[in-house]
């Protein structure tokens, strides 16, 4: 488990980094936290010619809020989001619910949210959240900057709309309305491993009726999925949450949404210990439970 030989540069500015990335004849990889890249290099599944270490690039560690938008720089580590105050309002609460599911604390101290989007693992928590909450990915190359909407970004497992010479400099999330309730529940075999399924939900209620709902599905297809069909059946519905400890009755809108998410939105693949039939079951249950968690946040 040793990497093949590679060249290494550690630029100080974004422009220097972009110049290094611009050499498209070579396999050039960006190193931020190294959460996945280092492992893949050790396994020699990735054998880059050049590694561009952006950890010394000034300004990329910025986390800022302007005009109802949160901007997260490429070097902001997962661990930052463990605090619900890192980002204001419901979004901060959602990030905090999700962040603790990412690996272990030492890895959260290195890995980055932007790195997760760049890697685009189907089991990435952040990718599904970015998709569900209409995040915008800002990329730059020597040719200039552009923005990619999350819904246009994911192309398949580890495949994205980012070009090889582009660096993701930041990620922007619109802040949801203050009265939005959020939920995040992950199902996995041990705390150490990837999610078999995880669900993110954000629910906004006006006058007791659901006015907006977003459901992000983690590891329910070959890429992150937004459960549009499930969301459709919820818009305009009344929110009634059963007492704590009660399982959702089969006819409850959240349970029905779960079933629809599992059967219509998701396209689960087979893995050892999780065939598609089992995964659909988990999706259905988790969507229902996550919606309930979000609704409880609204009603508090």
């Amino acid at each position: 488990m040793k990497p093949a030989a590679f060249d290494y540069v550690a630029p100080r500015t974004v422009d220097e980094a972009l110049n290094a990335l611009g050499d498209t004849r070579r396999d050039v990889r960006v190193l931020a936290g190294g959460q996945s890249l280092i492992l893949e290099m050790h396994l020699q599944r990735i054998r880059p010619d050049l590694v561009v270490d952006i950890n010394r690039v000034a300004g990329l560690d910025r986390l800022s809020v302007n005009d109802g938008t949160v901007e997260i720089g490429a070097l902001v580590r997962h661990g930052v989001f463990e605090s619900p105050q890192a980002v204001p309002g419901p979004l901060g609460r959602l990030f905090a619910l999700a962040a603790v599911n990412i690996a272990h604390p030492p890895i959260r101290a290195r890995g980055t949210m932007v790195g997760s989007l760049a890697w685009a693992h189907p089991a990435s928590e952040w990718c599904a959240i970015a998709l569900a909450l209409d995040a915008v990915i800002e990329v730059r190359s020597t040719g200039g900057a552009r923005e990619i909407a999350a819904r246009d970004y994911f192309r398949g497992p580890f495949q994205t709309a980012r070009a090889r010479d582009e660096l993701i400099t930041s990620l922007r999330f619109p802040l949801p309305a203050e009265d939005t309730g959020v939920g995040f529940i992950e199902h996995r075999r041990t705390h150490f491993c990837f999610a078999q399924v995880a669900v993110a939900a954000a629910l906004t209620v006006h006058d007791g009726l659901i006015s907006d709902v977003r459901i992000g599905l983690v590891n329910c297809a070959d890429r992150p999925i937004r459960a549009h069909a499930a969301e459709q059946v919820l818009i305009g519905r009344e929110v009634i949450v059963p007492a704590v400890g009660d399982r959702l009755p089969g006819g409850h809108p959240f349970a029905r949404a779960g079933r629809i998410a599992a059967d219509q939105d998701a396209a689960p693949l087979a893995e050892p210990y999780a065939d598609p039939e089992y995964r659909r079951q988990v999706i259905a249950v988790l969507v229902g439970r996550t919606l309930r968690q979000a609704a409880e946040g609204v009603l508090q």
């Binding site: 488990m1 040793k2 990497p3 093949a4 030989a5 396994l43 020699q44 199902h187 075999r189 041990t190 705390h191 150490f192 491993c193 990837f194 078999q196 400890g245 009660d246 399982r247 050892p272 210990y273 999780a274 065939d275 089992y278 079951q281 988990v282 249950v285 988790l286």
Partner: protein, 771 residues
């Protein structure tokens, strides 16, 4: 002053341990193996030419490159072709018949028989360069159909060795049971259980460093459980006299049974070191270990258990189809440990166990913590719960009715064991009392009436294990030496891979001699320092080496008294020993410390070879688990493990062992398993992200308690400790889940109880009478 719980902790917990990978040796080369990605196939070509051109690569060899060589006139060894891997007769783990016609080449020659089998070796200036070289070796293998389960392999439709059956060994324990016994019994339960293959997964994978010395000797450093065995096997392979090889075991990061043999990589590395006249080392990495290190367990079992209407056991039959991997050299006889221990803690009049060991296209099966006893316990204890349900009896009550009574020891079992001592009911009573059995049963009833509550189950598991080793392997070496400076040197044939010998043994010697513990130093794991030794396996170190050290200490006292008697010109009966000193019984003069005696009379040392009996530790484990039937997740709410390993030398260390092995038992029950693709290749691309071990986050509240029933067959009364959790815990967890779900078909719950398995079981039919 810093406080360390164990002597070795100062070194190990401050990063100052010295493991094989830490050793800095001039001119050392790193070996890397090129491994087959195919489970079963014909080797067509192994082309090493390009690899030899890689900068930093010193040499690359396939099996063909190391065959048909002229005899090499080496100063020390008789080196010719790369020798094959030796088989072991220790503890009847293998047999000459099983290996006849089935050579295990150190590098695969014309056939690969498991994914991960080495086909070439690259030696480079460091591991990076050697891996660069390995990436350039071109291997062409034509695949053959692969068989990775005993049932698939037993039919012999695919043969691993042409002209030879895949069934490499058959054995039995006890007498076959007549059909009338089953026909006439009031109740008979039958079931099939799968004991999945497991990886021992020590923190440190396998290591070896072979250093040819200036004087023609060879020093071999290895994280190993049996240094003298390794020396013996390597000497035979290399044609070297025994005293020309020194094997040293430095700090070792765990073994769990998996580090006691001479493996294909060891044979190759030592051969190359001698051939090249340079130090060569191999530090196995995790991914290699996951493909090419030995596996544990691997049995398909069929059981029948008969009882009368009162729940008294009448007969038990266990049929084992064992998956012993691709070569029969290390573990073809290992399933006999299951057969011999099939009786368990019950006074069943008829017990019969039969074994069929089948070769499969998987890495070789070898002892892993528990080694045969977990398989015996799980089969019997799951069946006991089935029987209790059929009889409408509380599972604790069924066990109580059948325990071998405490007054019946020594007890000769129908499967050939003679249990030394036991009080099985006491262990179960303590376990039930500790966990609050009645309270949990009440909670279970409450939940069964509450549709909103998660189902809860209580699982029992009572076990008997065997410690010390098999007859012929129950002795070890111990030596004690007193020095002028007051130091006492203790030596023994054990080799710690993390079992706290440095703490336990000096304390034992110090207590026997009556000296301060700080005066005693332990030397072990070095074939130059111990003339002979067996090592550490089968939970034998305290039981056998502890007894040997105790006995050697007593001999040293006798010797010191004789010396003093000579010195003082008095009869030896008038010389007494106390607190590390000799003194005259009647003379009022001051005592003479043993250090003064050495100064006055010369070196004082004894070497001893001591033999212990077999020990039969036992215990009772109880688990409470709740199941989320919608997701299939199992939450262990509480686990109580009561172990009895006789007299305990160091309670904190034994508890640590009990706790750790219980966690490994949880691993077998809930998490660990090797999924195979249709091509017979393990699906473990993500390493430990795919083979899941319980980590700190998964450890439930575990309470460790003990009862103490001394062994009459071991001098200290100590039996082995440390394997208990792997043996007792899995069945407790599985029984708890089965109890929660009340399923009719026990076959639905096969380990590991992953959420998908439990979810399917939760949807299946419940047994009659379930509520």
């Amino acid at each position: 002053m810093e406080q360390w719980a164990r002597r070795e902790d100062r070194r190990l917990l401050t990063g100052r341990g010295q493991f094989v990978a830490d050793m800095a040796v001039q001119n050392c080369l790193d070996a890397v193996f090129v491994r087959s990605g195919i489970a079963h196939g014909v080797v067509r070509d192994v082309d090493c030419a390009a690899a030899r051109e890689v900068p930093g690569v010193v040499g690359v060899w396939s099996a063909a490159d190391l065959s048909g060589l002229p005899a090499c006139a080496h100063a020390a060894a008789r080196l010719q072709d790369l020798p094959p891997v030796p088989h072991t007769l220790l503890a009847k783990l293998s047999t000459a018949e099983a290996v006849a016609g089935r050579e295990w080449p150190a590098l695969a020659k014309d056939r690969v028989r498991y994914a991960g089998e080495a086909v070439a070796v690259v030696v480079g200036e460091d591991r990076y360069r050697a891996e660069d070289g390995a990436a350039e070796v071109a291997v062409r293998i034509d695949p053959l159909p692969a068989v990775v389960t005993p049932s698939a392999a037993a039919g012999d439709s695919v043969l691993l060795f042409d002209g030879l059956s895949n069934t490499a060994f058959r054995g039995e324990a006890g007498t076959p049971i007549e059909e009338t016994v089953w026909q006439e019994a009031a109740v008979v339960v039958e079931a099939r259980y799968r004991q999945q293959l497991l990886m021992p997964t020590p923190m440190e994978c396998r290591t070896i460093l072979a250093v040819p010395e200036q004087d023609g000797r060879l020093t071999v450093w290895s994280g190993h459980q049996m240094p003298h065995r390794l020396r013996r096997e390597l000497a035979a392979l290399l044609g070297m006299p025994l005293d020309r090889i020194r094997v040293v075991v430095p700090d070792t990061g765990g073994a769990f049974g998996s580090k006691s043999a001479a493996f294909p990589e060891f044979v190759t590395v030592v051969y190359l070191a001698v051939m090249l006249g340079r130090p060569v080392r191999w530090i196995e990495d995790r991914l290699e270990s996951m493909t090419a290190a030995t596996r544990g367990r691997g049995q398909d079992q069929r059981v029948r258990l008969a009882a009368d209407a009162d729940g008294h056991l009448l007969a038990y039959e266990l049929q084992i189809d064992a998956d012993v991997g691709a070569y029969p050299h290390l573990g073809v006889g290992l399933p006999m440990q299951t057969a011999w221990m099939a009786t368990g803690p019950y006074a069943t009049p008829r017990v019969h166990a039969s074994v069929r060991s089948v070769l499969t296209n998987t890495m070789v099966t070898y002892p892993y913590r528990g080694a045969g006893r977990p398989e015996a316990t799980i089969a019997l204890e799951r069946s006991m719960d089935l029987l209790a349900r059929r009889l409408g009896l509380d599972p604790a009550e069924l066990r109580r009715r059948n325990f071998i009574p405490a007054e019946d020891f020594p007890y000769q079992t129908p499967t050939g064991r003679c249990y030394d001592s036991g009080n099985y009911a006491a262990a179960l009573d303590l376990a039930l009392e500790t966990i609050g059995y009645d309270t949990w049963r009440a909670e279970q009833t409450r939940r069964r009436h509450d549709p909103r509550a998660l189902p809860l189950g209580i699982g029992l598991s009572c076990y008997v294990e065997r410690s010390g080793g098999e007859p012929g392997g129950l002795h070890d070496f111990a030596g004690i030496e007193a020095h002028e400076d007051g130091t006492i040197i203790a030596r023994c044939g054990a080799a710690s891979s993390g079992q706290s010998h440095e703490t336990t043994f000096p304390a034992l010697v110090a207590a026997t001699l009556g000296v301060d513990e700080s005066r005693v130093q332990l030397i072990e794991g070095d074939t130059d320092a111990q003339p002979e030794g067996l090592g550490s396996f089968a939970s034998r170190s305290a039981q056998v080496d502890g007894a040997a050290l105790h006995h050697a200490s007593a001999l040293l006292i006798d010797l010191a008294r004789e010396r003093a008697a000579d010195l003082w010109g008095t009869p030896v009966e008038e010389v007494e020993w106390s607190d590390g000193s000799v003194h005259h019984v009647r003379d009022g003069s001051a005592a003479m410390d043993v250090a003064e005696l050495v100064k006055a009379t010369g070196p004082l040392s004894v070497d001893d070879r001591f033999e212990s009996g077999m020990g039969f530790p036992f215990g009772a484990h109880v688990a409470v688990a709740e199941v989320d039937p919608e997701l299939g997740t199992v939450r262990v709410l509480r686990l109580v493990v009561v172990d009895d390993c006789g007299v305990v030398l160091n309670p904190a260390i034994v508890r640590g062992q009990a706790f750790g092995s219980a966690v490994q038992g949880i691993g077998q029950a809930l998490y660990e398993g090797i999924p195979y693709g249709d091509d017979g290749v393990p699906l473990l691309a993500g390493g430990l992200l795919d083979y899941l071990l319980p980590t700190a986050t998964e450890v439930p509240p575990i309470e460790v308690k003990e009862t103490r029933t001394p062994s009459p067959s071991t001098p200290l009364g100590a039996k082995g400790a440390g394997e208990s959790g792997c043996i007792g815990t899995p069945a407790a967890i599985v029984n708890a889940v089965a109890d929660a779900l009340q399923i009719a078909d026990p076959g639905l719950l096969q380990m590991p109880l992953t959420p998908d398995v439990v979810w399917r079981a939760a949807r299946a039919a419940k047994y009659e009478g379930a509520r």
